[in-house]
Symmetry: C2
Subunit: 343 residues, 2 copies
């Protein structure tokens, strides 16, 4: 069960600020505070920064909830959350738990963000394990969402089915997609391909389909860009390796292209012609534009931004967090996992 009593209604949530971990990320606090201020100034989003005042410095006029500790990027997540009860991450999660913020956002230690959200907000009723949903671009369309992007290195088939249900609820709430399609990442299209975990999950997804999502069967790694389905389900180990592989290969090719462009005057001129066409493509693959990854299954909205987040990335993460909170994401996710419990 939830650690809180009643979840705030979407109407109440819409009046609450977004709690921003001012000390999370490689570019904290400067770019983080700047991004939060832009969300406030340009989009009218309420913001409450969380961090030690002497480390945060200039809050650019934003409200600051003071705390005394920071959990480092490389610190042991569970230990950090347990020991540093007055850290920016733990305090941000408590603001959501206590109905003082509609959502939290951090570009800090991913594991510690998850742990703080899980321990302070609690799990939604029926959720076995929260998972991380990461957007995958589909040029000109709403992004697909891959779960689990790394919260759970080891999974059961029942967990993977819940990930599918929660991700489908997220896609519906965020992009207004009716009955999102779900694909299961495997090593062949046939239901007989893959590990025993994948084969068992395939069977359970066939049974669970029709309640909030459609199951289209297995996908392969080569299907991910662009994904034919709205949701791609996999365990957190495979998901993390796959996402980082995609990220690495795209960065590698972009870097190689840039090097070619700089070869001589002729290539520099050619690049000028092509750049207007290439930039929108690059923008779709820029993590800063996607609004970050969403933690699903906690009793409150938590956006986990890329550690390299700049001000633009943070602004977009705040917008996504606010929109999902006011659209009642937690309620939708809770409703999505309920049928599996009562069947």
């Amino acid at each position: 069960m939830s650690r809180r009593g009643e979840r705030p209604t979407p109407e109440t949530l819409a009046t609450l600020p977004v709690a921003v971990d001012a000390m999370g990320g490689d570019k904290a606090p400067g770019e983080i505070v700047e991004g939060a201020r832009r969300a406030a100034d340009q989009h009218g989003i309420g913001i409450v920064l969380v961090g030690p005042p002497d480390q945060v410095g200039d809050t650019q006029g934003l409200e600051l909830v003071a705390c005394t500790e920071v959990i480092g990027m490389d610190e042991d997540p569970a230990g950090g959350v347990r020991r540093k009860k007055d850290s920016s991450l733990v305090r941000a999660a408590e603001l959501v738990r206590d109905g003082k913020a509609c959502a939290m956002v951090s570009a800090g230690n991913t594991g510690a963000t998850m742990a703080a959200a899980l321990l302070r907000m609690g799990r939604l009723p029926g959720v076995v394990r929260p998972c991380i949903a990461t957007p995958l671009p589909r040029l000109g369309r709403t992004p697909a969402v891959l779960v689990d992007a790394g919260a759970n290195a080891e999974c059961t088939a029942a967990m993977l089915v819940q990930f599918a249900q929660m991700a489908a609820a997220y896609v519906s709430a965020r992009f207004d997609t009716a009955s999102p399609t779900v694909g299961l990442l495997s090593i062949g299209e046939e239901p007989t391909k893959g590990t025993p975990l994948v084969k068992e999950t395939h069977g359970l997804l066939v049974e669970a389909a029709g309640h909030g999502f459609e199951f289209v069967g297995n996908l392969e790694g080569r299907d991910l860009l662009p994904s034919p389905t709205d949701v791609i389900v996999t365990d957190g180990f495979t998901g993390n390796v796959t996402l980082k592989s995609l990220e690495g290969s795209l960065r590698f090719l972009f870097d190689t292209m840039l090097a070619i462009f700089g070869t001589d005057d002729a290539t520099r001129d050619a690049a000028q012609v092509l750049l207007p066409h290439l930039l929108p493509l690059a923008a779709e693959f820029e993590p800063e534009n996607t609004g970050g990854a969403m933690l699903l299954g906690t009793d409150g909205v938590c956006v986990i931004s890329h550690g390299s987040s700049n001000a633009t990335a943070m602004m977009n993460a705040v917008l996504v967090a606010h929109e999902c909170a006011t659209r009642g994401l937690a309620d939708h996710v809770a409703a999505a996992v309920r049928p599996a419990q009562s069947d």
Copy 2:
């Protein structure tokens, strides 16, 4: 133990032809036979085609070992090999087993190729399970090799250690790399990150290192292009998903670039300037130039080419097969797994 008695010496193998499954692959037999003929004409490699004469048609002057059956691309691998004892794949593997060919090459059904090689050539002494090693380009350097690319969806830590040993032996034999470096694919650099399988494998690799390879620790998905290590070890499920993800993302970006190039006269002119720089890059990522994947652990050399192989891909696969056979790959692989058995 091996199903054969003495393995032929490299000197004997150098006198033997490469057995080519004339009916394997999307472009069989036309491009397959053409590629084999080019290997013979341009590089003086002995070739023996295997296939039903009426289906192979024009052998372009190459020797043909006649058989009556073909295992289809989508046919059940184990069942196909069991039922079709006179198929081109089974007969090709028998030519290697019987000392009539130095190696076999097929662009056909991957699972059936593995099964035919395993059942007819047999495993090398001490090998728990054969694995597939696939090259990953490193611009301007010898490629890295990822094992297992999909032969074993489920692995034990002992299997992964053998994959590392066999892949290191392969890299040494093919590229003359002394004591290749090995990285373990995981979701963080720290030895504590990953699944129990990965953590156990990490410990075993630390112990096994120094005998034929150096272990540098964990790699992440974003490290694969270009890989900092000569060998990347992972289970066949993760390896297959990862390789297909890389393949898909690169193809996606190349296709998108080509579409941009064709936008109008200005972009077409710009493309003309850039193409001389881009083509060498594209060539490095073209599966047809890498010579295909190598099956490791069988008592004989077996190259598994991409199903889409054209004549160039097949020619390169034949060259790699012949070179690895005459360099005594099977002996090197057998020697690499031996220390683990006797420790």
